[in-house]
Subunit: 324 residues, 2 copies
Amino acid sequence: MVAALAGVSRATVSRVVNGSTSVAPELVHSVEQAVRTLNYVPNRAARTLASRRTYTITLLVPESTSKVFADPFFATVVEGVAKYLNSTDYMLNMVTSSEANPGKTQRYLMGGNVDGVLVVSHHSGDHSWEHLSDALPIVFAGRPLLNAADSYYVEVDNEEGALAAVERLISTGRQNIATIAGPQDMPPGVDRLAGWRGGLHQAGLSDALVEYGDFTVASGAAAMQRLLGRGKPLDGVFAANDQMAAGAHSVILKHGLRIPEDIALVGFDDDQFATGVEPALTTVHHPIAELGEKMARMLVELIEGRAAERVCRLPTSLVVRESA
Amino acid sequence: MVAALAGVSRATVSRVVNGSTSVAPELVHSVEQAVRTLNYVPNRAARTLASRRTYTITLLVPESTSKVFADPFFATVVEGVAKYLNSTDYMLNMVTSSEANPGKTQRYLMGGNVDGVLVVSHHSGDHSWEHLSDALPIVFAGRPLLNAADSYYVEVDNEEGALAAVERLISTGRQNIATIAGPQDMPPGVDRLAGWRGGLHQAGLSDALVEYGDFTVASGAAAMQRLLGRGKPLDGVFAANDQMAAGAHSVILKHGLRIPEDIALVGFDDDQFATGVEPALTTVHHPIAELGEKMARMLVELIEGRAAERVCRLPTSLVVRESA
DNA sequence: TTGTAAGCGTTATCAA
DNA sequence: TTGATAACGCTTACAA
């Protein structure tokens, strides 16, 4: 360690580099100067080997690589994660749990090569990684289907968001409010439906108008079609995400009905689908980048043994545009 | 190293693990067995420290993190990279060159923490990383603006693709073929325009009908508007990407013209915009995932000192749908 | 507060 | 072909 040539022992250099408090200010100064002139960069591998800390966090990408990457949700989460990690010493590394090599990932993660894991398997019930959590700190994006009670995770407050959507609909005078719900085997699907129900009950309105979709545009269109086909009075719709709302949107217009005059429409997520239609969607903002940031922050706290809440629920906000 | 407890020296274990040829078959066998029963996983840090090889490849993400991640091109490249790397011992790590911490990335990369770098700054002329290449193997996605001559990169054959597009237009009887070209400060913009020109010249047709866009839907629409405004005969359009083609598409229909009967339209990229319009676009397929795969393969070859072509140009193929 | 010295788990050199 | 043994560059008791 060449920096020692600037006056002190390697131990002291190490202390300075790692910000130990117990070092004489003058020594700190001269070491820092030496570091600068020698352009010294600590060797990560050596540091890891000695300290048994890797300063590496793995982003675990589930099986269906192609689908996940195409998903803007994923991209935005990663963006948030990267942003936070940039302010720390941690490096981010991605591992896709290859179908081909099931054990490889496992071994890598358990092999002490990583300080913690971030799991972004947003849909796909595959939470085969939960068992890792007793070997390694793990934070999930979204509430896991199983073992939610002992998992660390960050999610948006889906129920609150849906409630706000319904309240908007009610406050603009709607009385017959339907929902296009998401799959009931996914927490967001369940929670958004519950929020819708809650809002209606609060106002003493009926919750009979429910149709289900799978979060795709096509399924939203089909659900809207069924809703209209019921022949019941209908003047407001809450779709559990913007994609389904977009599908409903086109069906409503195709039926010669006006948005929002005849049917008001509120979506959820505030993504490109919300602004990609005309009139643009009033929707619930899903703070995805913040979710990623929070996940990373939580994981780092966990790793460093600082207090960390087991679950973090991010608040939503209603974005009012033209559709409701 | 506990595995040594199964008969031999640590040196031999190392040889077996690393597949050295000069080891007695019986020893190989017993070591492998020991590895299995002890569930031994080599320690990356120790290996790196001793061998000065990190088995880590960095994916360098340019400044504007949010834009890049939103770009499906980026996501797909990463997918390809990850896929190839999964078949190797290399790990992928992402570093976003934070505006906040300009030197940090630099030091990390130069600090011997990485075996090679993949740069995916698809647009954004910022190739401030080219100087790294004399310290570290680097492979770029797309031909770099500067120093293309001494850079390693993978690109799609833009000129060939554009040529095929024009040939399609000609073969379906079009005589007055325009182009909506991309920015001329980006290699794909330049090359696709050149391909269009080449096709027309080959056929003895005029190359007068050129308008420029910036690869966005809106710019494509505006360019189409200008093309139509010229009042010249026009029965075919080649747009330099599908987004601009989609913009042109809506303008054509809005003018009461039919696609492809009145104006045939060919795009480039074969992305979601090609299938998102009705009639769907005939377009040039851009093999993005393959590009990522090839980049990774090239980098690994470079790192391991095996022969590697300086530039790899991926072939395109025409996807015939309804618009031409 | 500072220095000494013992690892950390591999690979690599050199004899045997 | 195999085995000692010395690095690799850092952290961290433990002493001073």
